[in-house]
């Protein structure tokens, strides 16, 4: 049996409440005997959902919850006893090696920065996610933590992204690229051009230059760096297209008796497509920059999605992402 792992899960902050979290937690500890979970939330509710308790699942009481539309600054001042803040506190105190929350991203960022130390030399944490494609995966950051990222910010995202890709994807020299536009008349804005210049100077980083939005799925880069405004809109546009396609497939295979028949026949050969397009299988983004594993789940995550986010936390803890980034970041930054 591998080393024991403990993950704290904010059980109250998601749109769907504690039930999906508890069900995902039970599945997570069932499939991984090295894993123990700490569910943070209203004890009575969680105990009821657990039908008393579970040997691998501990409950930590949290009286309060951060609301989805709550201002991060307000949460920071008034929600110290929220399930989110307490879950992050367990990571800070070493009672858990990582935590997962489906709550308000802004509040998670704010609490994360106030409770967990950042890597020295990193100005802002970034939201990073592994985007699946036909060939390989691509770590994209920032996906919405920061707007108006400076060239220095982009450079720092690139360093953290490269080190994370090395840690989790076992890549010796991850190909790092900057997301840019293709049209000839614009080589991107000044921040991107300046960041490219900085990255080109680095002899430790495998910087390959600019890539376009379509390149995210063509395995031309292992790490793609962009400002959070751009990354968030690109990610959501891509998810929108995928959702549209799934909807069209469902229509095609349900509208008529013939369609339903073909749909049944097609299932076995379409497994890979449906898997790749199912957002719940790829849920879980990393708050990269904090000296601890903090995973942000989609707010409306279902049970499978919540399970995917917990797995992501386990993966980063297993690969010791924070330690391995911390060890090498200094040499790269200065």
């Amino acid at each position: 049996m591998s080393n024991p792992i403990t993950i704290a899960v904010d059980a109250m902050s998601g749109d769907r409440g504690a039930e999906v979290v508890v069900h995902a937690a039970l599945e997570a500890v069932r499939e991984n005997e090295a894993l123990s979970l700490v569910l943070v939330g209203i004890r009575s509710e969680l105990e009821a959902l657990l039908h008393g308790g579970h040997p691998k699942i501990r409950i930590v009481e949290a009286a309060d919850v951060v609301r989805m539309n709550e201002r991060p600054s307000h949460a920071l001042r008034h929600k110290r006893n929220s399930s989110m803040a307490i879950a992050l506190g367990l990571v800070r105190d070493g009672e858990a090696q990582g935590c997962v929350s489906a709550g308000n991203t802004g509040a998670l960022m704010a609490f994360g920065r106030s409770l967990i130390r950042m890597y020295p030399g990193i100005e802002r944490p970034a939201i990073a996610k592994l985007i699946p494609s036909l060939r390989g995966r691509c770590l994209v950051l920032d996906l919405g933590a920061n707007v108006d990222s400076s060239a220095e910010n982009l450079y720092q995202y690139a360093l953290m992204g490269s080190l994370m890709a090395t840690a989790v994807s076992e890549l010796a020299e991850p190909r790092v690229a900057l997301l840019n536009v293709g049209e000839e008349e614009i080589k991107g804005n000044e921040q991107v051009r300046l960041a490219s210049h900085m990255l080109a100077q680095s002899d430790t980083l495998n910087y390959i230059g600019y890539v376009e939005g379509s390149d995210l799925f063509r395995n031309v880069a292992d790490v793609v760096v962009c400002d959070g405004f751009v990354g968030n809109i690109a990610l959501k546009t891509g998810e929108g297209v995928a959702g549209l396609l799934i909807e069209l497939l469902e229509q095609a295979f349900t509208r008529s008796v013939y369609g339903r028949m073909v749909g049944l026949l097609a299932r076995p050969v379409m497994g890979r497509l449906l898997q790749l397009m199912d957002p719940s299988r790829h849920n879980g983004a990393s708050l990269l920059g904090l000296q601890g594993v903090v995973i942000k789940s989609h707010g409306n995550a279902n049970e499978r999605a919540m399970l995917a986010a917990i797995r992501q936390a386990v993966c980063e803890v297993t690969h010791e992402v924070p330690r391995r980034i911390n060890e090498r970041l200094d040499d790269l930054l200065f």
Copy 2:
């Protein structure tokens, strides 16, 4: 028979050369008897491809071609006799009501601005495209003409986009939105927030506020406005996902004998999906801001894609987009 329409087509600037353009041209005049085309390029080559000539297709000689990787400033200085510049000149001189080019976007923008007057009060032209989805279509701009768009620029894109949607989609009060990020901690950058404030003041515009990338396909807005850097990356990311899915479908339906069999059976019910995902059916973006119809085609457009771009030009000419924007822009701007 409807009013005669003449469109000039830059026959030389695309990646695939004149052949696809000539074939698309022949199909275009075949399907629309009101349409006449002017093909601009090397006469001998075009005549050979036309097997002499065609009553509805005139050839105008152009000795030069703008290269794809050529700097717009260089093209502007040295390529006055290019097929691109001459095609635009035909629009300026009223010999054609619109033109289509698959060439270098930057050069097309530069020549467009230098040869064709812009709408008074508009600082920069924007690239606008109708994005198809399951319900309705959405006009998105800017898709890459400008980076670092100011709030005023975004406001002007919104006005032009709203007037274009009114003209081509016959919408009385198009729903206009700004593309923004969803996360609570960031309400977007300053330009977007300021543009939103300006748009909210307008009583002539049906401004509905912010939308996210995924909303582009959910018929929540008729016109979505963004900076060209963001729009270009969002569009290409969406195209990347669509391409990935088409590839996965092809794999599923070709890998095995069983898969091929299912593929044949599935064709009839998947027609709509494949149509919606086929980029060549949606080719043709508008250079919005010029007092004339100028359509930018994908550089590597095939025959069907080129035909779609010509149809887009015909559509905008038929709906008198430039005149109708010109008439109403003044009231909205000042």
